[in-house]
C-alpha cells in the first residue's frame, strides 16, 4: 500500500536518493515541475515506468494536489 507523505518526507527521501515522478500530462510537467523530478504521465506509467524507474529504489509520485 502506498504511503502518503508530506513535503518534509519528500525532501528526506530525495536526499536519500529516491526517485521523484510527476504524473501530470507532459505539457504541465514542461511548464513547471519540482526540481529534480522526471515526468511520466499517468496514462504512460505502465508502459514507461519499468524502463525509466528503478524498482529497487523508493519512488515518490505527485500531481497538482493529489485530486
Amino acid at each position: 500500500m502506498p504511503t502518503e507523505i508530506d513535503r518534509h518526507d519528500v525532501l528526506r527521501l530525495l536526499a536519500g536518493g529516491a526517485q521523484l515522478v510527476e504524473v501530470l500530462p507532459a505539457e504541465e510537467f514542461e511548464e513547471e515541475h519540482l526540481a529534480g523530478a522526471v515526468g511520466i504521465p499517468l496514462r504512460e506509467l505502465a508502459q514507461k515506468a519499468p524502463a525509466e524507474l528503478h524498482r529497487d529504489r523508493p519512488v515518490t509520485v505527485y500531481c497538482y494536489d493529489s485530486a
Partner: protein
Amino acid sequence: MSPRAAWRLESLGFTDVYDYVGGKADWAAAGLPVEGRAATATRLGQLARSDVLTCGLAETVATVRSRLGDHEAAAVVNDERVVLGLVRAVDLGDDGERPVAEVMREGPSTYRPNLTAAETAPRLEGKKVARVVVTTSDGRLVGIADPDHIRDAAGT
C-alpha cells in the same frame, strides 16, 4: 491522480512507493525550487528581502523602537517564525512599557513566495500597500517585498 499512480506502480512490482499528497501546489507555496518554462518568471520569494526585522509579541515598544533604526516596520513572529502581526514605527506610540502585541496590526495580508510579480502586481492595484509580507503556506516569514520592485519586475 497521484494516488492512482502510486497504486499502479505497486501493481507493476515497485515495492517502496510514496504519494506526495500536497503535490506541486504545496511545494511551490513553500517556496521550494521548481524547474521548467514558468520557472524563469520573477517570483515574490526572490523579491522579498529576508533581512527583515522581527520581534516577539511580548517585547516592549521601547525595545522594538531601539532596534527599528532605519527600518519602517518589523514583523511580529513567534518562535516558529510564524507571522502574527506587523508593527510600524508610527504605531509604536509613547508608552515604552507596552508590549508590541497591543500596538501591532493583527493578521496582515500575506502572499506566497511562488506568486509571480506579474500575478501580484494587479492585486496591489488601487490599494495603499507599503510592504508585501511574504510567507510560506504554513505562515512562516520568508521576507518583505517592496511593492515598487514588484511592479518593476512585472513591467507595469
